[in-house]
Amino acid sequence: MKITVKLFASVRDLCGFDEKEIIVPEGITVEEVLKRLTVSFPGLGAKRAALLCAINEEYAPPDAALAEGNVLAVFPPVSGG
């Protein structure tokens, strides 16, 4: 199935893209997508524990499963205000 990965701030800078469609197995979890990203971008490994994820603009835990067409956002701790 196809999902869209969106990256923001330091995570985008590290990986060098802000949005990409990727093909993943049905039912893949957020954690598994992060693992795949870390293989491509090893620098993410050290940040992993702090990363936040959202599916379709709602925060999602690592074990959340993705569905066809979902938008998975990956970003560092927020720092607005």
Partner: protein, 138 residues
């Protein structure tokens, strides 16, 4: 009245203050976050804010909902900057109005504290010799 926005243009805080408050309210409380020079012993030249805009608006809406359910908030205005913010310039404006001041102070503190925890906005500090996302501070 509720108003939740992200904007790239500078904030006109004086104009925003005037939009907060009804005749039923005895208190209008505002918080203005501003870009500060000092950070970790270095001198900041300016800030840059990036937002996941669609999600940030949703998260700000949830915060406003919760504030309005916990306290008798009449008006709730939250406007956050994106893009480049110069030293001393406002980066966020929050205005709430309530019948009495005590609940207004509580609502206002809740809103800014929660923005800093949950709203997908990121700050990058620029120095004379480089820049750093606040999330990457050592």
């Amino acid at each position: 009245m509720r108003r939740i926005e992200l904007q790239e243009a500078p904030l006109d805080t004086a104009a925003l203050v005037k939009t907060v408050g009804t005749k039923e309210d005895g208190a209008v409380l505002t918080f203005i976050g501003t870009a500060r020079r000092g950070s970790m012993g270095k001198s900041v030249t300016h800030l840059h804010y990036e937002a996941y805009e669609s999600m940030a608006i949703k998260e700000l809406g949830k915060i406003a909902d919760e504030a309005c359910s916990r306290w008798p908030v009449s008006d709730c205005v939250i406007v956050h900057r994106t893009g480049t913010v110069g030293l001393g310039e406002p980066s966020v404006f929050i205005g709430v109005s309530t019948p009495h001041r005590a609940e207004g102070f509580q609502a206002l503190q809740f809103i800014i504290d929660t923005i800093k925890k949950t709203v997908p906005i990121w700050k990058k500090e620029f120095f004379e010799d480089g820049s750093m996302w606040v999330s990457e501070r050592p």
